[in-house]
């Protein structure tokens, strides 16, 4: 049970970082973003959990939305990264690299974690 909590917390943090990184590559609408995240095994359990996170990122000013006309149906909401989001993404990526490297070194040294 404790493992599940730990794993879900790690995933939640990584999910936010992955969303910011995906949006840094290109503007995407929600469905495409979910599909891109789906390619990372085990990152999202259910697709619906992405949207509350996106709403929060938008509320925090990290993500922007705009409407995109669609020939196949109604307009779609497109997510993009704000300047603040770009800065946050940079910070997250740096922190992630540093932590991952340190953890890797500890694991590589044969220290039992």
């Amino acid at each position: 049970m404790a493992d599940d909590v730990w794993l879900s917390q790690v995933k939640r943090g990584l999910l936010e970082m992955c969303i910011l990184n995906l949006l840094a590559q290109e503007h995407r609408h929600g469905y495409r973003l979910v599909k891109a995240l789906d390619t990372v095994p085990g990152l999202i359990v259910t697709e619906g959990t992405i949207y509350p996170l996106l709403c929060r990122l938008k509320r925090e000013g990290l993500v922007l939305t705009s409407l995109e006309e669609s020939t196949q149906g109604p307009t779609r909401k497109v997510y993009s990264l704000s300047e603040r989001g770009r800065t946050k993404r940079g910070e997250m990526n740096r922190a992630w690299r540093m932590i991952a490297k340190a953890v890797e070194e500890i694991a590589g040294a044969g220290i039992e974690l």
Partner: protein, 323 residues
């Protein structure tokens, strides 16, 4: 929108209703439900079948997860109780009525007031589209200045389409302002039309761009607030208005040129052309009402009246830096 089997449609509606119930009171409820609806539509569009069956809808919803899993985690900081709060409870301080700070203006008022400002600015602009003969766009200038000031005070931008609207409005203002001296010179030298016409076309094109951005931004506000039907309506009429205006503008130029060619290019004909443009005023008023004032008014009323907008407006005001 992709056709659904009635049972699939019912399943979708039930699912979204359950999500709404789970998220009741959450500030992002409307936005999350709207995003899920969009997601379902996208997933349905990807399927090759003409009609979405119950099984297909169930699969889409299963991938989304149960409404309970959609609920965002509650990560609000814990409330810190003061130590020995009972013993150390301070005496209640009674602040005299006159010293009490004014109640903060509600976020709802902020957004409603902004849309009111847009409505009034456009109303003035539409009311007096121009003064014939000398091309004085007096009301247009006031309207554009009001729009520029309103958007200039917006702060860091949300929605995206509202970005740069202030600068665009000032550019329109500058061009319309330039038309006035050109109009005066025009009375003496009709040849100045060769300068005035491109400026006039430029001002008109910028005004349409401005309208497009304002309407798109308003539609985005409505979409985020869960009023997607109204949002779609505004996006549709925005296109219609653009086409009608472009057609009228083109027609008026062609007719003006035809008059000049038919009767010669002299001062009397300039008056004839200007009188002709007078007939366009009522059309401009009607179009302005149906395609500008009415949608902005409806958007304002929808944001004001619909209960689900309240949480959105709260987050909107906090994040936008809107005064």
């Amino acid at each position: 929108m992709k056709r659904r089997h009635p049972e699939a449609d019912r399943l979708e509606r039930d699912y979204l209703a359950r999500v709404e119930a789970v998220l009741a009171g959450h500030p992002d409820a409307a936005g999350i439900v709207e995003s899920l609806r969009e997601h379902i539509e996208e997933a349905a569009t990807e399927l090759s079948d003409d009609e979405i069956s119950l099984v297909q809808m169930a699969q889409i919803l299963e991938r989304l997860g149960s409404p309970e899993t959609v609920r965002p985690p509650r990560n609000a900081p814990p409330t810190i109780e003061p130590e020995s709060s009972v013993d150390a409870a301070p005496e209640p301080v009674v602040i005299p009525e006159s010293d009490r700070p004014a109640a903060p203006r509600s976020d709802f008022d902020v957004v409603a007031r902004f849309l009111d400002r847009l409505w009034i600015a456009y109303f003035i602009g539409i009311l007096g589209l121009f003064v014939p003969i000398i091309d004085l766009h007096f009301c247009e200038l006031i309207s554009l200045a009001m729009l520029a000031l309103a958007f200039g005070a917006w702060g860091r931008a949300r929605p995206v389409s509202y970005r740069g609207v202030g600068a665009l409005a000032w550019s329109c203002f500058a061009l319309y302002f330039a038309l006035f001296p050109l109009g005066l010179i025009h009375l003496a030298t009709p040849l100045i039309s060769f300068v005035a016409l491109p400026v006039s076309i430029g001002a008109f094109a910028l005004c349409l761009m401005l309208y497009w951005k304002v309407m798109t931004g308003t539609a985005e506000l409505l979409r985020d607030a869960g009023a997607s039907f109204l949002s779609e309506w505004i996006l549709r009429i925005r296109q219609t208005y653009l086409f009608i205006n472009a057609a009228i503008f083109l027609a008026s130029i062609l007719i003006s040129v035809a008059i000049v060619f038919a009767f010669g290019n002299n001062r009397k004909d300039i008056l004839r052309v200007e009188l002709f443009t007078l007939f366009l005023l009522p059309i401009g008023w009607a179009l302005g009402y149906f395609y500008v004032l009415r949608p902005i008014g409806r958007a304002r009323d929808a944001l004001r009246a619909t209960a689900i907008q309240a949480p959105y407006i709260a987050s909107f005001s906090v994040n936008s830096g809107f005064p």
